[in-house]
Assembly symmetry: C2
């Protein structure tokens, strides 16, 4: 099965990288863009055919390695 | 409107970061994970109410700043 994990900063956590991108977009002439936040995405294949098992394994992977749950949220999408 | 841009490496482009993550997952005991690819996600607000206008502006932003279209693909999601 294919899985996509999206890791984003929690609300209230400062995102200097996002602010830099917002400034760059403004200086390139793109007006009206606000609140830029940068996150990470992980695409991978997992073995098995049971989506529930895969989801619990992926949640464990996020908690242990892919996300810093103190400052980051994650969401998991699974497709066949 | 809210927009989410997902930038991923094109097929065939080496992803050492993804390989490192795959190795770390294996050494943490997560078996059966393959083909890890890391990408970037950008969340932001755009002014206006016309989704088509917003989409063409965001495509221009991706081409100019957010993605390196030589080695990266991007996808754009817009919601109200």
């Amino acid at each position: 099965m294919k899985a996509r994990v999206i890791v984003t900063l929690k609300n209230g956590v400062l995102d200097p990288q996002g602010q830099a991108i917002e400034g760059s977009l403004a200086s390139l002439g793109f007006a009206g863009v606000a609140g830029v936040r940068q996150g990470k995405v992980f695409d991978f294949e997992v073995e098995g055919t049971d989506a529930e098992t895969a989801r619990s394994q992926i949640n464990a992977m996020c908690d242990k390695l892919l996300a810093n749950t103190v400052i980051e949220n994650y969401s998991v999408e699974i497709s066949n």
